[in-house]
């Protein structure tokens, strides 16, 4: 059987960075298995600018960011990419790989899962009405337009104010489509403020907060949708229905980490992130299986994905080379407004970075971090669920901590 020190599943930004991290920390035999025929993952269809301001100090398009990052490992003999190949099963550390040459088995001492995420489909949000043509997830429409040059509709309505939907509102407008509006169930937008400004306001596209699409109508092709308002408790308000004519509805209603492979393997998943439960090494509940990037938790910024990938790569290298973590293991607990924490547990003895999201919009407030031997408040000017938060705790802060660490938001 083919054997490697490390196999990385998925060659998106997380996978590329993981390969670099593993190489820089001593591994010499790294295989990246990628389903598509090129590296970069989702970045290849994100042709807008806004990537890499932190990593490269310039604002790049998605493909350009991927290319610049890939250049760091391009001629590296220790890292090999296998394209057009999908891992379809993992048993212990043996992967079944389907490729144009047929099925094969590959074994690794450690595996990093960087398989990205998928979009929530129409079925997941209970849209009523006929199954007519013209309803797409925003990412699918983006792929058609940016990779094939095919515009999926001329008169477009968008459900969900996630960034992909906002970016597509601008993109389709530029290509000559009429974007009638964007509806968001919550009373606040789920996309970045800059995207509301430059993708909607710049083109006078209305954003309907506290609204959703009740049903879709049409025979073969979508003809109109029914828009409805919701109250504070997100309950539909009868009588507020409104007909909107359109030939296309884009759904931008959330992303879900892609984890079927490791779920089947028995890796424990976090109910909130829907990714693996990991420690500070990004190691899952199964020894030697690591996760990073959107497969671990959905990120807004590629720079953070790259940083996380690199750290996972380093940790996998340490694991293969027999370097054990030293400090005491502590578990994170979240409550009162903090909806999740990555990593879910950690080893003391070094500076550590924690990433999390909050469950609602907070004005000026504090992130309260406490446990036996530690009590810290970190001031924030305003926090929204759509922006991932990052907190750094110093080794000295953590030294005196015992047992467990709690996180909450205090207004």
């Amino acid at each position: 059987m083919e054997r490697h020190q490390l196999v990385i599943i998925g060659g998106g930004s997380a996978g590329i960075a993981a390969a670099l991290g593993a190489y820089e920390n001593g591994l010499t035999d790294i295989l990246v298995i990628e389903r598509e025929s090129e590296y970069g993952g989702i970045l290849q269809q994100c042709i807008h600018n806004g990537f890499g301001l932190h990593t490269f100090n310039e604002e790049l398009s998605g493909p350009a960011y991927a290319e610049k990052y890939y250049a760091l490992i391009k001629d590296n003999e220790c890292i090999r990419f296998l394209y057009d190949a999908a891992v379809i099963r993992i048993e212990d550390k043996v992967m079944t790989v389907s490729s144009p040459e047929g099925m094969r088995k590959v074994e690794a001492q450690a595996i990093i899962v960087s398989t990205g995420c998928r979009e929530r489909p129409a079925g997941a949000i209970g849209l009523k009405g006929n199954r007519c043509e013209g309803v797409y997830t925003a990412g699918t429409a983006q792929k058609y337009l940016n990779k094939e040059g095919f515009l999926v509709g001329k008169k477009v309505f968008i459900l969900g104010s996630g960034d992909i939907g906002l970016i597509m509102a601008r993109r389709m407008t530029l290509e000559g489509a009429q974007v009638i509006g964007v509806a968001e169930l919550q009373p606040y937008s789920n996309g970045l403020a800059r995207n509301i400004k430059q993708c909607l306001e710049d083109f006078d596209i209305p954003l309907y907060l506290s609204h959703t699409v009740e049903s879709v109508h049409g025979n073969a092709r979508l003809e109109y949708i029914t828009l409805i308002e919701v109250d504070k408790n997100l309950k539909k308000i009868p009588g507020s229905e409104r007909r909107i004519d359109c030939d296309c509805l884009l759904l931008s209603v959330g992303l879900i980490p892609e984890n079927t492979l490791i779920e089947d393997l028995g890796v424990k998943l976090d109910k909130r992130t829907r990714g693996a439960i990991v420690d500070d090494r990004y190691m899952s509940s199964i020894e030697g299986i690591f996760a990073c990037g959107n497969a671990l938790h959905v990120h807004d910024l590629v720079d953070y994905v790259s940083q996380e990938g690199k750290k996972a790569g380093k940790a996998a290298a340490d694991y293969v080379l027999g370097v054990e973590p030293e400090g005491e293991k502590i578990t994170n607990y979240v409550s009162n407004g903090v909806s999740y924490m990555v990593p879910q547990s950690f080893h003391k003895g070094k500076d550590l970075e924690f990433m999390f999201r909050v469950s609602k919009v907070f004005g000026e407030s504090f992130i309260h971090v406490y446990g036996k031997g530690l009590d810290k408040k970190i001031k924030k000017l305003g926090i929204v669920p759509s922006e991932m938060q990052k907190v750094l705790l110093k080794k000295e802060d953590l030294d005196s901590l015992e047992g467990e660490l709690h996180w909450e938001v205090v207004e």
Partner: protein, 116 residues
């Protein structure tokens, strides 16, 4: 006037005031915010990203980007002007695809390399 800085994903909320002939900016976390606010008041600009057709390649579209931001009002026109542009592989990141689009001092450049 309140603005949201679009220069990076952080999206700082800016407070912009004209004091005499001077523009005073508050709320920015870095100097780019001040530049953005000043431009937004006097001459708003936007970067254009789109694709053009590519031939002799396994890909159909080449992603492109404006070398510098364009006047906001010209973005749609510039995009339209690229409709019939066709290029041939190989193309490299940063190659100029259209020089001086719409007669402006702005080039349209490849934002990806496509070898074949």
């Amino acid at each position: 006037m309140n603005l949201i800085c679009i220069s990076c994903p952080r999206g700082c909320h800016l407070e912009v005031n004209k004091v005499g002939s001077e523009v005073v900016v508050k709320g920015n976390s870095c100097p780019r915010g001040e530049i953005y606010a000043r431009n937004e008041l006097l001459d708003p600009k936007r970067t254009l990203t789109t694709t053009v057709a590519i031939e002799s390649s396994s890909c159909r579209r080449l992603p492109v980007i404006s070398s510098v931001p364009l006047p906001k009002g010209k973005v749609m026109d510039a995009c339209r002007a690229l409709k019939d542009v066709r290029v041939k592989a190989p193309v490299h990141l940063g190659d100029v695809i259209v020089k001086g689009v719409l007669g402006l001092d702005v080039d349209i450049v490849a934002s990806k390399s496509i070898e074949k």
